[in-house]
């Protein structure tokens, strides 16, 4: 299951949704809004997405995770809109029979999300200025 949302992410409900009697391991990653990036102070973030492509890419990542690891559930939810420091911007949870698979699958999913999904954040500082973050390399496989 993948989803973009403008509402707060209920990570506990997502985690419970991933639990299953066949699975001994559940692994969750939360991205939360950090107040400091180096010297740079963030007061709030604005997240924007190219929504139809973002949903397609998230679904492709889910499919890849399912093809590579024996996951029961893989749930990826990314929040959009304005977020305050400490808010959860993204939650990814996987459940697997054993822990090594869960760790590997979770890490792959989060790394792929950060690399491939067309979502952008604007860091807004205490002086009223805001800047889109474009630090990563050119997106995609090219």
């Amino acid at each position: 299951m993948v989803r973009l949302t403008r509402d707060a992410i209920d990570f506990a409900a997502l985690t419970n949704e991933a639990r299953h009697p066949h699975c001994g391991a559940v692994a969750l990653f939360l991205g939360t809004v950090r107040d400091l990036t180096g010297e740079h102070v963030t007061v709030f973030l604005d997240y924007d997405a190219y929504a139809p492509m973002a949903e397609k890419k998230l679904a492709e990542i889910e499919a890849t995770v399912r093809a590579r690891w024996p996951v029961r559930e893989v749930l990826m939810v990314h929040r959009l809109g304005r977020l305050a420091v400490g808010d959860v911007s993204v939650a990814v949870v996987v459940s697997c029979p054993h822990r090594a698979e869960a760790f590997d699958a979770l890490r792959f999913a989060v790394d792929a999300l950060k690399e491939l999904v067309p979502i952008w954040k604007k860091e807004n500082g205490p002086d009223g200025t805001g800047e889109w973050v474009h630090q990563s390399a050119k997106p995609g496989a090219t």
Binding site: A49, Y50, M53, H78, V90, V110, K121, W132, P139
Partner: protein, 76 residues
């Protein structure tokens, strides 16, 4: 052809730009046209998406395709 923009490119040039491309044009041709109206440094670091898929420079672009410029992403 309308090309969708996001993030800093949207701040610079609006939610989309219109470019004229000849029949048989490729993503490479599209990039050359976009370089006239978008900040070159960020465009060079951006991908082109055609119909929600990252597209290589040699890919053909046709009328009716949904085309977007994807600056370096920062989700998560």
């Amino acid at each position: 052809m309308r090309v969708l923009l996001f993030a800093a490119l949207r701040d610079a040039a609006g939610p989309s730009v219109d470019v004229n491309l000849p029949a048989g044009a490729t993503v490479r041709d599209l990039r050359a046209e976009l370089a006239r109206v978008l900040p070159a440094a960020l465009l060079a670091r951006s991908a082109i998406a055609v119909n929600h898929e990252y597209a290589e420079d040699a890919r053909a672009v046709r009328e009716g395709d949904e085309v977007a410029v994807i600056p370096p992403v920062s989700g998560g």
